[in-house]
Each structure stands twice: as C-alpha cells, then as structure tokens.
C-alpha cells in the first residue's frame, strides 16, 4: 500500500513538472517528486512486522526481525540532497524574481 502511495506521489510530481509554468510551483512539484522517491526507497526496505533496526536494552535476544537498515541510511542522504537542491532552487527563484519581476515563465519572454 505504501509503495502505491509512493508511486502516486512520484506521478504527481511528474504531473506538476509537466504542466506548471510557475517557478515556485515547479520547485514544489520537484519536492513532491523527491518525497515520493524517498517514500519509495523506504518501502523497498520494509519487512512485515519488522522493528526499527536499533538494538536497545529491552530487545535482547537475537530472534528479532529488523527492517532493512540500508534504505533508511540511503534516504537520510537523499533527503539532505533534496534540501540542498531546494535551497538552491529557491535562491535562484529569488534571483529570477529580481530579474524578471514575475514567477511565470511564459511572461519572462524568450531570453
């Protein structure tokens, strides 16, 4: 179920990128796409009734079923990369606004 939701968010992001002309909306749809992607990465690692892969004092015996830790580690990196690119995109949007005075790409005219 989570995987379908993830793929749905991916598609929503793609839809946004396909149709939106506003710079901010493009950034938002790019973010939706990335969140969908991160969700999908997590869903790949999920094991039925597995617990978080952290050893704690009250789970001592070794018969534990852990969720796959590697996708969560990869997601940690993917999220921060998403933050980096979004920050940069917003800064660019700021520059675009200063230069063209609008966020609509069509009104910016052919440069």
């Amino acid at each position: 179920m989570l995987q379908y939701a993830a793929i749905a968010m991916l598609m929503l992001g793609l839809y946004g990128l396909l149709t939106q002309r506003n710079v901010i909306k493009i950034i938002v749809s790019l973010n939706i796409f990335e969140i969908g992607l991160n969700l999908f990465i997590i869903s790949v690692g999920y094991v039925d009734d597995g617990i978080a892969p952290i050893l704690t004092s009250n789970f001592n015996n070794n018969g534990l079923i852990f969720v796959d830790p590697l996708p969560s580690a990869l997601v940690l990196t993917a999220i921060v990369i998403g933050v980096g690119t979004t920050a940069l995109a917003l800064a660019l949007a700021n520059n675009i606004y200063q230069k063209y005075g609008t966020f609509e790409i069509d009104e910016m005219g052919e440069e």
């Binding site: 598609m11 149709t19 869903s43 050893l55 852990f66 830790p69 990369i81 933050v83």
Partner: protein
C-alpha cells in the same frame, strides 16, 4: 487540454510502472523483502569482516562497528564516505545560496510585522530547550534514532525561531562560518588520520576501539563524527535562513 493530456499520460505511466513491478519476479512485493540475501544482513549482525555471533545490548564488546543504531552504523561507519559526500552537498548549497543572495553588508528585511515584547522574551526561553534537544539528538546519534542531520536541523530550527520571533535578530555569520569550516575540516582530518597515521589504515577507518555496544562512549569515532556533522548542518542551514531573511543593505 494540455493539462488533461499530461494527467492521462502520467496516470497511464503510473499504472504501467505498478503492473510491471508487480509481475517482475525479481522485485520483491511490499513487505516480503528477504533481508538475508541482501548486503544489509551483514550490517545487522555486524559480520562484514568477522562473524561476532549474537550481539546483546550492553555486553558484547569490540564489534567491527560499534553503534547500537544500525542505521547510524551504516551512515557513519560502513558507508561513511557517502556522508562525507552528503556534507559537501549541504556545504556547497549553503555556499551557493550565499553566492546567489549574498552581499557584504546585509540587513533584515522588514516584513512590517513587529513582534511584541512578550513574544520576543518567550521565544528566548523556548530557544534554549530546542537547542538542547537538537544537541542531545546529535550526541546520541549512535544509540537512539536521529543523529547528525536531524540534530543539526533542530539546532537550525531554534535559530529560525529566533529569526521569526524577533525582527532585528541576526546570527553572527562570521562565527557560524568558522564553526562550519572547522567542523567540516575536522571530519576530513579524522578520515585522513585513519588513512595516514595508522599504518595500513583506511580512509575514515574507525581507529578508536568500539567499547561496549550501547554505552554513551562507545562506537569509536562515530559519535564524534556525528556531533561534528550536527554542528556543521546546524550552522549551514541557519546560514541559509539568514541569507533568505536578509537583503542587501543599500
């Protein structure tokens, strides 16, 4: 009309991906991932180099990688080169934002919203608590969920709180730049010490002993590295916040 076409196309694509993933025999269905075939089985029972047998919290000592939180083990020990790359991404994006929006003398944008005295004082009190939780999360990265990145984000959120609550507040950029640069360089230097000082060592090798799994001072360099990352992430994101909330002082 174009939107409708795009919507249909995206819908069809989604449907196609889902069906192709379902009847793709190599791709495990949701929930039935068989960890034992995967590399991560070795991460779980720490058997990448030698097989320690079963691990019990608080007793087994000297594992190949110390942190109780396996995700942190992967992020900061097994694949810590990714995290180094990760840190450079944030470093360069904050540098980029500074380059795009930056200027020498900048002042706060006055958003004609002036918080009253009560809000300013109240947020000062709350600031400390948020900061401490952020630092706590960063320090206990190897034991509890969280770690450098969430901790750093919390530190930055405390800065954001002050920015929002007080329209003259400005972080001392010089200091944050220094913190960011020192933390980053320390991280790389730790990696290099692993490589150069210990003969036959590897870059980013965990050269300190791992101690007992579950203790605060265990898992070698992992907590140190994670704290450094926490500070670095915190200072970078607050730098970005500062850039966005200030404008060129004409």
């Amino acid at each position: 009309m174009k939107n409708f076409l795009a919507f249909v196309a995206v819908l069809v694509l989604g449907f196609l991906i889902i069906t192709s993933l379902n009847n793709n025999e190599a791709f495990p269905n949701y929930g039935e991932a068989d960890i034992s075939e995967r590399v991560s089985q070795a991460y779980i029972d720490r058997s990448a180099t030698e097989n320690p047998g079963d691990i019990t919290f608080g007793e087994t000592t000297d594992l190949e990688s110390g942190p109780a939180n396996i995700v942190t083990a992967i992020v900061a020990d097994y694949r810590s080169f990714d995290t180094l790359g990760e840190v450079t991404v944030l470093f360069i994006s904050s540098l980029g934002v500074a380059l795009l929006l930056g200027g020498v003398n900048r002042k706060r944008i006055d958003l004609d919203f002036h918080p009253n005295f009560m809000l300013r004082v109240g947020s000062r009190a709350l600031f400390g608590i948020i900061l401490m939780t952020g630092v706590y999360v960063a320090i206990h990265g190897h034991l509890t969920p969280g770690g450098g990145f969430p901790g750093g984000a919390m530190i930055a959120s405390s800065m954001l709180l002050l920015y929002l609550a007080d329209d003259e507040f400005r972080v001392k950029i010089k200091g944050f730049k220094m913190l960011e640069s020192v933390a980053g360089s320390l991280y790389v230097l730790i990696g290099l010490t692993g490589l150069l000082l210990i003969s036959g060592g590897f870059f980013l090798e965990n050269f300190l002993d791992n101690g007992v799994i579950g203790n605060l001072f265990s898992a070698g360099i992992v907590p140190i590295v994670y704290v450094l990352i926490g500070l670095k992430v915190g200072s970078e994101i607050s730098g970005i916040i500062d850039n966005f909330l200030t404008e060129e002082a004409v």
